[in-house]
Amino acid sequence: MGAQDLSILSLLSFLLFLVPVLFIGRYLRLGLNKAIVTGATRMCIQLGFVGLYLEFLFRFNSPLLNIAYLLLMVVIACYTVLRSSNLKVTTFFIPLFLALTIPFTLILFFFDLVVIELSSLFDARYLIPIGGMLLGNCLRSLIIGLDQFYSGIKKQEKEYLFTLALYGSRFEALKPWARKSIASAVTPTIASMATIGLVSLPGMMTGQILGGSLPIVAIKYQVAIMAAIFYTEFFSVVLSLAFSLPWGFNGMNVLHSKIFAGK
């Protein structure tokens, strides 16, 4: 089983289409040519490296190494989320790390243990790609969630403070912003669950079919992974808001002014 291998030469043949793209880009002065070339080059180099260390991880298939690799991915994910949501990495790293690690570990192991019923829980062939898919999707929702929450309160600080004085309860005063940011964070996944199969064939399913799996098996995996992605996103966004509150607000429940990075 497994998809037919591609030769490097046949992969390179795809560059052929880059010629008209670059030509049109130049003719229309899209200003994108440099970005296209850099993007394509980075993709090849980065994925080349991924190929190398995945080979390495799969060959050794050591539980300890696999877990260390997943932890490293979580650390990078947290860093990326905070950088992209314009929040200070040093301030929010710990709460975000916990908010991501707890649901991520729980859902990932549940997926492996209960759903796929793997005999060896730490098998790299399942743990690494599924872990990667969960993290990759959480990245986007955590960025949206944290950014909307903190920048939203910053922008509407007067409304927040007024309702804080009116209600006397931080929890109640924060609700409108928490509601809005959780909804924006998970809506894209809900929308993609609702349209999956109609508009697009998901990547994981396509990959499995190419790899020789029966469509029905690929579909079962796809349903399971979508559910896992949604749960991990949902819980990590909710926890990231809850856990970050003591770092984001002072003892008087007022937003700290120095939590935003840059500017």
Partner: protein, 193 residues
Amino acid sequence: MDGNPVFSDFSMEINSGTKMLIKGRSGSGKTSLFKLLLGFAQPDTGNIRINGLALDKTHIREIRNSFFYLSQDVDLPHETGRTLIARLERLNREHPLVIDSLGHFLTLLDLPPSLLEKKIPVLSGGERQRLGLLMGFLLDRPIWLLDEPTSALDDAMKEIVVDYITAMDKTILVVSHDRVWEAHPDITKFNWR
């Protein structure tokens, strides 16, 4: 507070039941005084006590619950007045709202009951200001901090509101440029710088 000092060497004691108009130029830090009292900003040095309680994180909830604060822009949440009242009822079980007098306050403020069914952002400035005051009457908290509470009201309504508020058995601090506050005999004036 952050940046330039808004005020320094400031000391003031306000007795319970005082009705005080704080006068001063725009931008001279009058609103900052309210922010300090509400714990929205912290003084660099010095301390604030309210009803004998130090204004700190241990007492902040209790202190905030003794204030009714009406901000200049009446930043009420984006929902209907009715929903807001229901929420305030739920959050204030220990000091229940004087909901029995809702009809009385609506008449006093010349607000039709149907206005409570409208989303607050669609209301006019004057309606929002009166709705804000309505929340104050319903909450019935002992200390009122009012930041330009009558700016969007017509003259007749200004008189009604000022007369009613100054007659209440509460501590009232008002920042306002409306003459009607200054002209009222029961109001103490405090010149802010």
